[in-house]
C-alpha cells in the first residue's frame, strides 16, 4: 500500500472522483427515465453516447469552442433518439432488438468517423473545472472556494457539466411529477389506451421523450469526451450506456432513485480506480468486475417491480385491446 497518502486524502479523492464519474450515468439515465416512463425502452443509449462523445469531441477539436461541441453532441444525440423513436413508435418494432441495432450503428459509425476524420487519439481543452475564486466576483483575495478543506475539495471543484448533471435531477423530478407534461408522459407509459382516449397523442409524447432521452445521452457521451477525459477513443463509453439503462430499473423509474444508483455506481467505480492507484492486493480484473456484478444484484431486488411503467416495451396501436 502507498504510504504517502493520508486516509483523509484518499476519502476525499474517492468522493471527488465519485461525483465526477456519476456525470455520464446521470445524463444518460435521466434521459432514459423519460423514455421508459412513456413506455419506450431505448437500449441504444450506449451507441448514442458514443456518437455524442465523438460529435462533441470533433466539433470542439475543429472549432476550439467547447460550447459548440456540447451543442453538436446534443444535436447528434437527438437525431439518434429520433431514429429510435421512428423505429419503435411509428414502425412499432421490437424495442430490445432495435436498441441493439442502434448500439451497433453508433459503435460502428463513431469508430468509422474517428478513423476517417481524426485517425489518432488527440486531446482537446474541454470544460475546465470551476474553482469559485473570490477574485472572479471582484473581491480582492486569491482565495478560492475549491480550496476549502474536504468540502471544497469534494464538491466545489468540478466543471459546469458535472453540476449540470446533478441539477438535472430536481428538474426532471419536477417535470415528471408537477407538470401537465409529466402527467401525459406517465399516463402514456402506464395506460396508453386511456391516455389516447383522453386526447393525449401517445406517438407525440413518445417521440418527445425518446428524442429528449437521446439528446441527454449525446450530452452524456460528450461529458466523457470534452469534460471528464478530454479525449476520444473508439468504444470509450465501455458499457456505461447499458449500465445507465439498468440504473433506470435500479432507481425504480424516478430521478431521485436514478441519482442514488448513479452515485452508488460511480463510488464503486472510484473505489475500484483507487484500489489500482494504491496498489492494493486485489486483482484489478475483480475490481473492474464489481460494478457489473452490482448491477445484476441490484436488478434482482424484488421490491421495485410494481413500479415499472405498465406499458414499458409495449408498442401502442389504436384499436388493440
Amino acid at each position: 500500500m502507498n504510504e504517502g497518502l493520508s486516509i483523509l486524502a484518499i476519502i476525499v479523492g474517492i468522493a471527488h472522483s465519485g461525483i465526477r464519474l456519476a456525470t455520464p450515468y446521470l445524463y444518460a439515465a435521466i434521459g432514459e427515465t423519460f423514455a421508459q416512463r412513456s413506455g419506450v425502452l431505448n437500449l441504444g443509449v450506449e451507441g448514442i453516447m458514443l456518437m455524442g462523445a465523438f460529435g462533441g469531441f470533433y466539433v470542439t477539436f475543429v472549432t476550439g469552442n467547447v460550447i459548440l461541441g456540447l451543442l453538436a453532441a446534443a444535436l447528434v444525440g437527438a437525431i439518434m433518439g429520433l431514429i429510435m423513436a421512428f423505429i419503435s413508435v411509428t414502425l412499432n418494432a421490437e424495442q430490445g432488438i432495435s436498441g441493439i441495432g442502434l448500439y451497433l450503428l453508433g459503435l460502428g459509425a463513431s469508430s468509422l468517423l474517428f478513423k476517417t476524420l481524426l485517425g489518432t487519439v488527440e486531446g482537446v481543452d474541454g470544460f475546465s473545472e470551476l474553482k469559485f475564486c473570490l477574485a472572479s466576483v471582484g473581491i480582492a483575495s486569491n482565495f478560492c472556494l475549491s480550496d476549502i478543506p474536504v468540502f471544497g475539495e469534494i464538491f466545489l471543484s468540478h466543471s459546469v457539466i458535472v453540476y449540470g448533471a446533478f441539477a438535472l435531477v430536481p428538474v426532471a423530478w419536477w417535470v415528471l411529477n408537477k407538470t401537465t407534461w409529466g402527467l401525459s408522459i406517465r399516463a402514456v407509459g402506464q395506460n396508453p389506451q386511456a391516455a389516447d382516449s383522453l386526447g393525449v397523442s401517445v406517438a407525440r409524447v413518445r417521440y418527445m421523450t425518446v428524442t429528449f432521452g437521446g439528446l441527454l445521452a449525446g450530452i452524456a457521451g460528450a461529458s466523457l469526451s470534452i469534460s471528464l477525459l478530454n479525449i476520444f477513443q473508439e468504444g470509450m463509453t465501455n458499457g456505461q450506456g447499458f449500465i445507465a439503462v439498468a440504473l433506470v430499473y435500479f432507481g425504480s423509474w424516478t430521478p431521485v432513485g436514478v441519482l442514488l444508483g448513479a452515485l452508488l455506481f460511480s463510488l464503486v467505480n472510484a473505489l475500484q480506480l483507487w484500489v489500482q492507484v494504491l496498489g492494493l492486493n486485489i486483482p484489478s480484473d475483480v475490481a473492474v468486475m464489481m460494478p457489473y456484478l452490482l448491477t445484476i444484484l441490484a436488478l434482482a431486488f424484488p421490491f421495485k417491480r410494481a413500479l415499472q411503467p405498465a406499458a414499458l416495451t409495449k408498442p401502442f396501436e389504436r384499436g388493440e385491446n
Binding site: 432488438i97 441495432g101 480484473d285
Partner: protein, 398 residues
C-alpha cells in the same frame, strides 16, 4: 388471367420471405451513401468486399471459418428468441466456453487420447455456456430481472474473469519466463486441433493441388477450398449438424413445441399447462450452450490458444443476432445467413485494404441491417392482422 385472392396471398408470402434480403439491400444502400460521403466509389468498395469474401478459395475459406461461430451463436439466439427471451449474452457465454476448453485441453491434451480430449472439451464448453446463460435465465424466470440487461452485465463479468485467469492461473508459462506477461494461454497440445479440411482430404488420398490437376476458375477454387491447406476446419460440420438438430428439436419434439408456445403467448402456454418459468430457463440455457460450443470450436479449430476475451468472442454475440434475424429465426435459414455475414466480416477487411474504408464500416452496416430487419416486421404483422380479419385466406404457417 384475372388477379385472384390466391395470387395476392402468394405474392405477399414471397415478399415476406424476402424481407430480410430487402432489409440488407436497404442497409447496403445507406452504406453506399456513407461511402460516397467518404469520397469512396461504393461500387468499387462493395466489389472489393464481396469478391474478397467469395471469389477465391482463401476468401471463401475465411468466410466459412467466420460462418462457423456465427452459425452456432445464431442457433442459440434462434432458440432464445423463439421463446421470446432476448439473449445478448452470447459474447460472455462464448468466452466461458472457450476458457474451460482451453483449460481442459492444456491440462489433458498430452496425456489423454485426442478424440477423448476433443469430445470432452466440446461437451464442457457447451455445458459451461449453458450454465453461464441459465443464471440470467433463472433471474428472469423467478425474479423478473430484465434478461437483456443481465446478459450484457454477464458479458462484462466473463471478460474480466477471462483476463483474471489469463493473467494468473492460465497464463502461458513461456510468457512468465520471458517476463512479457502478455495475458494469453499456452498453445493447446497439437493432437487436440480439430482436423482441417486439408487433413480430411489427405485421409481420403486427395493430396494434389489444383495446379497439379490443371483445375482453374470456379472448379479450381472449389477444389482448392476443399483440399489445399486453408484455415477451414471441420467445426463447419459440427455447426451444420447442430443446425439440423435445432430444427428437429424445435419442430419435432415436445420441448421444442413448448419453447415456441411460450414465445408466442406465455399466458396461453401457462393455461395449457406448460411450465413457463422452467421453459424460459431452459431456452436461455440452450441458447448459451450453443454459444459455449462456439467458444470451444473456435479454440480447438482456429485459435488453438486463449487470448484477449473480446478478440476471441469478436462481436459474434451481436453479429449472431443479425444472423438469427436474417434467417427469420429458422435454424436452416441461419446457415446461408451465417455464410453471408461471415463474408461481410471478411469482406470488410478486404475492403479496408482495397479502398481504405475502415473495417468498422461493417459494424455500422450490421447495426443498420438489424434496424431495417426489425422495422420491416411491421409488414408481416399487418399481413397477419389482415389474415385474422379475413379467415378465408388463413393458411398454415409453421
Amino acid at each position: 388471367m384475372k388477379p385472384s385472392l390466391f395470387k395476392r396471398v402468394q405474392l405477399e408470402r414471397i415478399i415476406d420471405a424476402l424481407l430480410p434480403l430487402i432489409a440488407v439491400i436497404g442497409a447496403l444502400l445507406v452504406g453506399a451513401v456513407v461511402l460516397v460521403l467518404l469520397d469512396t466509389d461504393p461500387v468499387e468498395a462493395y466489389t472489393a468486399m464481396f469478391s474478397g469474401a467469395f471469389a477465391n478459395k482463401n476468401g471463401l475459406a475465411d468466410t466459412m471459418v467466420k460462418a462457423i461461430p456465427l452459425l452456432l451463436v445464431g442457433l442459440g439466439i434462434v432458440i432464445a428468441f423463439r421463446a421470446s427471451v432476448i439473449n445478448i449474452g452470447a459474447e460472455g457465454q462464448l468466452i466461458v466456453g472457450a476458457l474451460i476448453t482451453t483449460y481442459l485441453a492444456v491440462a489433458l491434451g498430452d496425456s489423454w487420447p485426442n478424440y477423448l480430449v476433443i469430445s470432452l472439451c466440446l461437451v464442457a464448453g457447451t455445458l459451461m455456456g449453458a450454465l453461464w446463460a441459465s443464471i440470467p435465465g433463472y433471474l428472469k424466470a423467478y425474479l423478473n430481472v430484465n434478461e437483456i440487461l443481465s446478459t450484457i452485465m454477464m458479458n462484462q463479468i466473463a471478460i474480466q474473469i477471462g483476463f483474471f485467469l489469463l493473467r494468473g492461473p492460465m497464463i502461458d508459462p513461456k510468457e512468465v519466463e520471458a517476463g512479457t506477461n502478455i495475458p494469453h494461454s499456452a498453445r493447446l497440445p497439437r493432437p487436440t486441433d480439430l482436423p482441417r479440411f486439408t487433413d480430411v482430404a489427405g485421409w481420403f488420398g486427395f493430396t494434389d493441388s489444383a495446379k497439379d490437376l490443371n483445375l482453374t476458375g470456379f472448379w479450381g477454387e472449389l477444389y482448392g477450398l476443399l483440399v489445399e491447406p486453408t484455415r477451414l476446419h471441420t467445426g463447419l460440420f459440427i455447426a451444420i449438424l447442430m443446425a439440423i438438430l435445432v430444427y428437429v428439436f424445435l419442430w419435432r419434439t415436445t420441448i421444442g413445441y413448448r419453447i415456441r408456445a411460450v414465445g408466442l403467448n406465455p399466458a396461453a402456454a401457462r393455461y395449457a399447462g406448460i411450465q413457463v418459468r422452467r421453459t424460459v430457463i431452459l431456452s436461455m440455457g440452450l441458447s448459451g450452450a450453443f454459444a459455449g460450443l462456439a467458444g470451444a470450436v473456435e479454440i480447438l479449430g482456429l485459435h488453438h490458444r486463449m487470448f484477449e476475451p473480446l478478440s476471441v468472442s469478436a462481436g459474434y454475440g451481436f453479429s449472431g443476432i443479425v444472423v438469427a434475424l436474417f434467417g427469420k429465426l429458422h435454424p436452416i435459414g441461419a446457415i446461408p445467413a451465417s455464410i453471408l455475414f461471415g463474408g461481410l466480416l471478411v469482406g470488410g477487411d478486404k475492403m479496408q485494404r482495397a479502398v481504405q474504408v475502415p473495417q468498422v464500416f461493417v459494424t455500422a452496416l450490421l447495426g443498420l441491417i438489424v434496424l431495417f430487419v426489425v422495422s420491416s416486421e411491421i409488414w408481416s404483422r399487418r399481413r397477419a392482422k389482415r389474415r385474422v380479419a379475413a379467415p378465408t385466406t388463413a393458411e398454415e404457417n409453421e
